[in-house]
Amino acid sequence: MPRIVSGALLRICLGVVVAAVLAPCPALALPAAGEDRTVVQYDCIPNYANWGGVTALYKQVTGVTVPPDPKGSSVAMAALEKEKDNPVADCAYYSGAIGYQAAQKGLHQPYKPKGWEKIPDALKDPNGLWWTVHTGTIALVVNTKALGGARIPRSFADLLEPAYKGKIAYDDPTWGGTSFTFVYGLNELMGGTDKDFRPGLSYLRKLDANVSSYPRESIYNAVLRGEVPIWINADGNGYKMKYVDGGPVEVVIPAEGTFTMPLVMGLAAGAPHADEAKRYFDWLLSAPAQAEFAKSFFRPVVAGTLPAELAAKFLPDADYRKARALDLSKMAAAADALKKAWLDEIRGTGR
């Protein structure tokens, strides 16, 4: 074959491959002319709180695309702050304290979506800078097949036993808000305060002996496969593994108690598609959207929207009575100091 032909062929093949790789990627797909039907949400992890299902349903109902985004809460807030002069995102989703902090930093503009009055007062900002879309509870998500003979841990004290060496993970709290909620709440549970982190850090130092990693990406699938047997994370992620993905997974509320975590959203200051985002927010509080979140076992913030057959799959209320609410303003104020302390004492000292 003449060389020139094979070169052209090669180029065509390469073109086809590149096109095939890029085609299914919604972020790169060019919008049709005159169309601007996108809402950019920072922290929109498909496996977390069923954002994948919720955004797909929204697309189906309205034709508006909300692309997935892998940032954790803290990274989402940092990105908003970095892009303050030239905003890219319309909104962000965070665990409560980080959203509170972002609002304080002036990264949000006020908006009160339809259904505002149905959100309990403690779970929203009176000025509409942030509000809760659903709540989770910190729990132990346990892959029972991956425990290698060890029994299912029932408490934070159990987790320190040598049987769990290398079997525990919790996300890097400087990356994700869920894990930050865990670290902050744990410190309170162990007798610390928003100024004194020693009790919590002292427990986490002991726990470190059993921790395999402090991931900075979603390890949902790794837990489901058994690469990580015990994940300290939101209860809903564990229920979803068990009931939706059929994994050998149990959710355990630790005997000592645990913490609830409001998951909040806010309209970004200078949002490029502000009107589109507002319609999206209105819809997120509607019964169908709230029920869609509930499919991943995050509790809807709007009362009465949790379908009965899903409610029956949660652990009994007796377990959930051990969950306490945390003071978001204190958490937000302690956030940077606690993250630094965690880095210095748990992660960063090198080994």
């Binding site: 940092a78 400087t174 990356w175 993250k339 630094k340 960063g348 090198g350």
Partner: protein, 241 residues
């Protein structure tokens, strides 16, 4: 150039940033770790690369092109992907522990992906191909007469490698060390996925930016990392010349 200027401006605007970076603690540890890990990865990968590079440069054998492609493949992987590959092999339920469990009844090396050894292996995984490619190019220029002369004087293959080839190739070895060292110093994705407590400088830069928006310290760390890399590269370059 503009981003560099802004970065430096951010770092120098708050003079405390450099002191923080150089004071004992997380930042300095990360720089020392980066230096140690990258140096070790450079020397080990170059040592391992010598023989395959020599073979690729000098020998003709069937499937040579296939073998070369296979060796260079890891260069096309991003660091994050290499990190996941190491987890697939050496994670808690990785292929190696499963195989070991099947053969010996004990799941050896389970979870070693997350240890310093796992991180080091990942670095080797993408540095060895780099070293092979760089060295191969240098070995190609090796004059065959030298080898023939040594052979006619009765030198065996090992003696020829030690006394003729390597001294002749010394500059190429040093510059290959520099190339692999610099690449390791800047590598980020692998450590992002694998590093548990062992921290390297690019990871700290990422954390400062994303978790704390601390431009000054992040900039100072960048400059310190660049200076360190440049300094060591100069050392290698001087040996090469």
């Amino acid at each position: 150039m503009w981003p560099l200027v802004r970065l430096a401006a951010g770092a120098f605007a708050s003079p405390g940033a450099f002191l923080q970076v150089l004071a004992a603690g997380r930042y300095r540890t990360s720089l020392v770790n980066s230096l140690a890990l990258s140096t070790a990865a450079a020397f080990v990968s170059v040592a391992i690369a010598i023989v395959p590079a020599w073979v690729f440069a000098r020998e003709r054998f069937p499937a040579r092109n296939l073998a070369r492609t296979a060796v260079s493949l890891p260069l096309t992987f991003s660091g994050v992907l290499v990190g996941f590959l190491v987890i697939v092999m050496l994670g808690r339920i990785g292929a190696v522990p499963k195989l070991a469990g099947f053969l010996t009844g004990r799941e050896l090396f389970a979870g070693s992906a997350y240890t310093l050894a796992g991180l080091f292996l990942a670095y080797l995984y993408f540095e060895i191909p780099r070293a092979v490619m760089t060295l191969e190019a240098a070995f190609r220029h090796f004059p065959p007469e030298l080898d023939a002369a040594a052979r006619s004087l009765g030198a065996g293959p090992i003696a020829r490698l030690l006394h003729v080839t390597l001294p002749y190739a010394a500059p190429a070895l040093y510059s290959t060390l520099a190339v692999t060292f610099s690449a390791s110093m800047g590598s980020f994705g692998v450590a992002l996925v694998l590093a548990r407590r062992f921290t390297v400088a690019p990871l700290e830069i990422y954390t400062e930016l994303t978790a704390f928006l601390n431009d000054a310290v992040a900039g100072a760390l960048c400059i310190a990392l660049a200076a360190l890399t440049f300094g060591v590269d100069r050392l290698f370059a001087r040996r090469a010349a």
